[in-house]
Symmetry: C2
DNA sequence: AAAAATGTTTTGATACTCAAAGCATTTTCG
DNA sequence: CGAAAATGCTTTGAGTATCAAAACATTTTT
């Protein structure tokens, strides 16, 4: 079962790479003062209609307390806008500023390039196989996660 | 090109799952007081002959200052042993204690299980496609890394 | 109207990170 | 040889990230 060894090494290597490279290639230039965490928060807020803190926190898997801290920094850096909801004044709605949207787009582009690079070397059948494998993996992990809850 | 979108979502989801599940399933039981970071340091030290701080720090991609802090905690928790080298008294050699080796083994087992589960649900062709895709990703990251150096 | 629930922020504590300064030891070279 | 440079590690100072629990404001329930 040598393929197991290979897959393991690949996955481990990939993990190390993704964290470091994503950081290196995203938090640069105009976005130099942005951390990886900032980027993930921006990604979770998205470019649609404003979202409240609880929803974003849940999407990120952190507490709202933690998210408040992140937002403080993002607002100060000019990526995010905070508005109290008029309908329910307990709620805080967050959304991306123009600068925040540019950063979002920058991140998306990184992802698209990454995918393009992988997909480029696969034919249609292989793409479908990859999709199926990844879905299987996702299912497995979802199951594990539910088990431990 | 809707498959690109799907693949991207799958990869992003997968990445999120793996980090949380790894944490949940490793830092438990006997290893409750261990952080993910602790685990990665233990992994980098390995079960072979003692290694010096600089080598371990480089393997982890952190500064030696950061590693010193991690080591303080790991030594206090009883996972790691620190010894000044006799040949070159500037050098500090770190190695896993018996408890540290058990933790290492526990982590390895998690990886093996994960891979086993993944591989189990793929046939030979699918395995090869997955391998090829992961290699593609690795290639992409290597290229990016070289660019930014 | 009082009590409970909800949404967010604040607080207090711990972990992780880096750059730069400091310390001890070894190597280099005049 | 002996001073200067280099090496290996730790400490320091500062910033970010994290959580649980307490505090606060507002809305909903009773």
């Amino acid at each position: 079962m040598d393929i197991n060894r290979t897959l393991n090494d690949l996955l481990v290597g990939l993990f190390r790479s993704i964290t470091t490279i994503e950081e290196q290639s995203i938090c640069t230039g105009e976005y130099r003062n942005m951390t990886t965490n900032d980027m993930h928060v921006i990604e979770a807020i998205g470019t649609g209609t404003p979202r409240n803190m609880t929803a974003v926190a849940r999407a990120l898997g952190v507490t709202t307390g933690t998210l408040t801290i992140s937002m403080n920094s993002l607002v100060k850096k000019g990526y995010v806008e905070r508005v109290r909801s008029e309908e329910d004044r307990r709620v805080v709605l967050v959304s991306l500023t123009a600068k925040g949207k540019r950063a979002f787009e920058h991140h998306e582009k990184f992802h698209r390039e990454m995918i393009r690079h992988v997909v480029e070397m696969l034919n249609e059948d292989e793409k479908r196989v990859l999709e199926k494998s990844l879905e299987g993996l996702n299912g497995f992990f979802r199951k594990m996660q539910q088990q431990s809850e």
